[in-house]
Subunit: 141 residues, 2 copies
């Protein structure tokens, strides 16, 4: 049962803070989240953050040590792991596991700026190049 338990919206925001800082106290996380919020939305309560930290720890996504009598949390799950889980979910649920299907959707329905498109091409080209290297190595041994 190693299947990366899915995280909710706010849980992910908390993870983002943890990933960015490596380690943080509950108070730091609360402040950071509220700093990110625009003034017209209600700030999140500190106890809410604590509850979610608790749930994240129960799931094994984070852990804590005690320093100076306060909890210092750090992520256990890596961002790329969580990304893979979420992307995999999306692929399964909506794109029949087709990566090209997803990318086709991206360039067709999300408005992609010209330089973003160029970046996409570079990314794909480099991946192809890397794969060719691997292939020729295979062939030459």
């Amino acid at each position: 049962m190693n299947s990366t338990p899915k995280l909710g919206k706010v849980q992910l925001q908390i993870m983002q803070v943890l990933w960015a800082r490596e380690r943080a106290t509950a108070r730091e996380i609360t402040d950071e989240l509220n700093r990110q919020k625009s003034a017209d939305v209600a700030p999140i309560a500190h106890s809410t953050v604590q509850t979610l930290l608790r749930k994240l720890e129960a799931k094994g996504a984070i852990t804590h040590r005690i320093e100076e009598r306060t909890f210092v949390f750090e992520p256990l799950q890596e961002k790329s792991e969580v990304e893979t889980g979420a992307v995999g979910d999306l692929l399964t649920r909506l794109f029949d596991r087709s990566i090209s299907g997803l990318v086709a959707h991206l360039v067709k329905h999300e408005k992609v700026s010209p330089d973003e498109l160029q970046r996409l091409r570079t990314i794909v080209e480099q991946a192809e190049a890397a794969q060719n290297v691997k292939t020729s190595k295979e062939e030459s041994r």
Copy 2:
């Protein structure tokens, strides 16, 4: 409040059936879902499907007509709409709205076969070509 209410996992599966068939009865959907399941998982109960159809209709994702005294459901929300919502969610939650960030993750962490990669390049190149046409039109008027 036109923000494409999010659909759950099974709700999406139901939508998939509806998208594929254009229209279906509750019974047809139940049978289709259970046909898709491997024998070792518990089949979904018909009443569960009916409950979810009800919730989908309450959300405005589908509607029904009555034919021969039985409900025939059809999708109101289009697949591309739902895809956009789900992809947008993923982008916001994990990729800081960066499409290239998402694609970079795809080619790096999901195993993409060589021909899949080639398809990706074609998709991106064609999008670039389309954009260049648009741009030159702009310039020439």
